[in-house]
């Protein structure tokens, strides 16, 4: 493979520049600011993305709202929710314009091996629009690498939702994103409907074709 080709598809990049254009298929994240930070203008397709956040309620789902809404277009391909920490609320999802008939919730019964297997199957099948997996605790690098390979084979984006305390563990995912809420809100903010444009701190610990990025504030879409 020629050097230029490696540079073009982001497998190799120059430290002095962060390329804005890459010859790879990317999916817009739905947030202009975030797309600007992601080389190629979005999440590279068929990659594993690790999202680290302290606890539910930070805005972890709203970061994915635009991706879930877009999946509606070809309604045959399912979105898999593997071992979510609570029940996704159909009412909220429908309000956000997400097709419910596409959302499949998979419960492995707290069995790590089954959860990993399900996620790998879903990713490598190539038939899913998106695969979201909540895997707590330590995850062996081998398991992560398998998921990354499965995502590439199936050309399906996989989101690995992990607790923030794991941020020092090595990761085999192509992207690593840390999400932190930005302090508390006040009643006043909600009344001014500011809550619907609440800011969070997003850090790109790892990204395709660029240096890690320090935490930056980003405005997520509304609560509904």
């Amino acid at each position: 493979m020629a050097l230029a080709e490696l540079l073009n598809n982001g497998q190799l990049w120059r430290g002095s520049e962060s390329r804005q254009t890459l010859d790879i298929e990317t999916d817009s994240s739905g947030y202009n600011r975030l797309d600007h930070w992601l080389p190629g203008g979005g999440w590279a397709r068929g990659q594993l993305i690790e999202l680290l956040y302290p606890a539910p309620g930070v805005g972890e789902l709203r970061l994915l709202w635009p991706l879930l809404k877009r999946a509606k277009k070809d309604s045959t391909s399912p979105v898999m929710w593997i071992d979510p920490p609570a029940d996704p609320n159909p009412v909220a999802l429908q309000q956000a314009g997400i097709s419910l008939a596409q959302q499949w919730v998979v419960h492995s019964g707290k069995d790590r091996a089954k959860a990993l297997w399900s996620m790998e199957q879903a990713l490598s099948s190539g038939s899913c629009a998106l695969v979201l997996g909540w895997l707590d605790g330590r995850l062996p690098t081998v398991a992560q690498r398998r998921l990354q390979v499965a995502a590439q084979n199936g050309n399906t984006s996989g989101w690995l939702m992990r607790p923030d305390r794991e941020h020092l563990q090595p990761s085999a995912a192509a992207y690593r994103v840390r999400l932190q809420a930005e302090g508390g809100c006040t009643r006043n903010m909600l009344e001014q409907r500011l809550i619907s444009h609440r800011k969070v701190q997003l850090e790109l610990q790892k990204r395709r074709g660029g240096w890690p990025m320090d935490p930056q504030p980003i405005t997520l879409c509304g609560l509904f």
Partner: protein
């Protein structure tokens, strides 16, 4: 017409589908070897030997008895399986299948490719087979039973047929004696004799038989009628204690199923596997939403399902039943769109269901829960609802609750949840670390956490 004969020389030893590389013999009532498989033959075991001799020659010898009923079951299974290669199948005892193939050669891209496909499929099911093609049914049968023949047609075929010895022709012993008595050793010599002379000396039956063998007169055997329903069972010689051991014998039932489905252009959507022991019976059901006929895919689904199953007692009989099917729709996919999909969504979901259980997978629009979570039971005005709902509300300790900042509320929700009149005041609250939750205060002034705005 073109015929393909499949002869299964060691079938009585291969009935239950276990390893054919292990030496195995069949004994008669006088404890003498009547049939030995290739592995046993290579150890020097021959039919007619006493059991003690055979055991001395190959110590890890496995023994079996004649089982005509089971042999019949397996032949029916093989006939079903062969349904995908030919529309006209005949059972020709002993242990031979006869397939009419002239109409199918084009579909299978020629005789050689058909032969290859058969070899691979039979090898996968663990059967030893001798096969031969012929221009007459009788000729193909004789060649197959004499050890198989590679020749397909024309001179090669006629030469191979002519090389058959008199003792390989399945003639009565009197006829054999008469022929060897006049010095005829091969079929070619017999075919060269004048017909009238032959008929006068050896009887008109022999000439009629000769005409059938040489294809001068076609008299195809009666076709076999496949059953209307697919429900096959297999009795096992050995009792099985673990589910993974079922997979090998199961492979044969699935191969028969594939033949059955392909012949009818059906797709199976639900299969039932019954496992029976002396006193126990277990049944498992596997479903594929879209339907499929492939044996390997069903085997994969059943394997995943069996991994979850434990046998309550050893079993010695497995049965496979086709519960639901639908007709195959003509495939009208665009030839030019790139096929990236490796596995269809419904296959993926069937796989996950097989391994994790039916209740482990749920589609969000099929939730039947409390009205609060059902989009069709919502009031018209927009409400802010959390994206995560806790399965059961969690009590909020007072100390934690006092740190919360209430952002909106109260929103009073009344209803008969769980058939009990309730009244709750809901608030959206912010945690000091920035998380946003959905909390409520009940009638008794207790606080609970019910959801998160993820």
């Amino acid at each position: 017409m073109r015929w393909l004969a499949l002869y299964f020389p060691y079938l009585p030893l291969e009935l239950d589908g276990f390893d054919k590389d292990c030496p195995r013999v069949m004994l008669d009532s006088r404890q003498r070897v009547v049939l030995a498989n290739t592995a046993a033959q290579s150890e020097g075991i021959k039919p007619g030997q006493a059991l003690a001799t055979a055991q001395a020659l190959a110590p890890p010898l496995s023994l079996c008895r004649e089982n005509p009923l089971q042999l019949q079951q397996v032949m029916a299974q093989l006939a079903l399986w062969a349904g995908q290669f030919s529309a006209r199948i005949s059972l020709c005892p002993p242990q031979t299948l006869l397939l009419e193939i002239a109409s199918m050669l084009r579909y299978f891209k020629g005789s050689e490719s058909l032969r290859q496909q058969l070899v691979v499929a039979l090898e996968g099911q663990g059967y030893s087979c001798w096969m031969a093609m012929g221009e007459s049914a009788q000729g193909a049968l004789l060649l197959a039973r004499a050890g198989g023949c590679e020749a397909i047609s024309g001179d090669d075929y006629r030469r191979a047929l002519g090389q058959l010895r008199i003792d390989q022709l399945e003639l009565s012993s009197t006829q054999q004696k008469q022929l060897t008595g006049v010095g005829i050793k091969k079929l070619s010599a017999l075919a060269g004799l004048p017909r009238i002379e032959l008929a006068r000396r050896l009887g008109p039956e022999l000439t009629a038989w000769l005409d059938r063998v040489l294809g001068r007169c076609q008299q195809p055997p009666a076709p076999w009628e496949p059953p209307e329903r697919f429900d096959l069972s297999l009795d096992l010689e050995i009792e099985l204690e673990h589910t993974h051991a079922i997979l090998f014998p199961l492979r044969r039932l699935l191969a028969a199923l594939e033949g059955f489905l392909n012949q009818r252009q059906w797709l199976a959507t639900e299969l039932k596997l019954r496992l029976a022991g002396r006193e126990n019976q277990q049944a498992i059901t596997v479903v594929h939403a879209q339907g499929c006929s492939s044996a390997s895919l069903w085997q994969d689904l059943l394997r995943l399902r069996l991994e979850r199953e434990t046998l309550t007692a050893p079993i010695n009989r497995i049965a496979l039943e086709l519960c639901h099917h639908h007709a195959l729709q003509a495939d009208n996919r665009d030839l030019f769109t790139e096929q990236r999909e490796q596995l269809s969504a419904s296959t993926l979901i069937s796989r996950l269901r097989s391994r994790l259980g039916d209740e482990a997978l749920m589609r969000l629009d099929q939730l039947q829960g409390e009205p609060l979570l059902r989009p069709d039971c919502q009031p018209d005005w927009p409400q802010i609802r959390p994206s995560w709902i806790l399965p059961t509300p969690k009590a909020l300790p007072d100390r934690e609750r006092r740190q919360l900042e209430l952002l909106s509320g109260p929103e009073r929700i009344q209803g008969s949840w769980w058939q009990q009149p309730q009244q709750r005041d809901y608030f959206i609250a912010s945690w000091p670390d920035g998380r946003i939750g959905w909390i409520f205060r009940d009638f008794h002034d207790h606080w609970y956490l019910h959801g998160w705005f993820g």
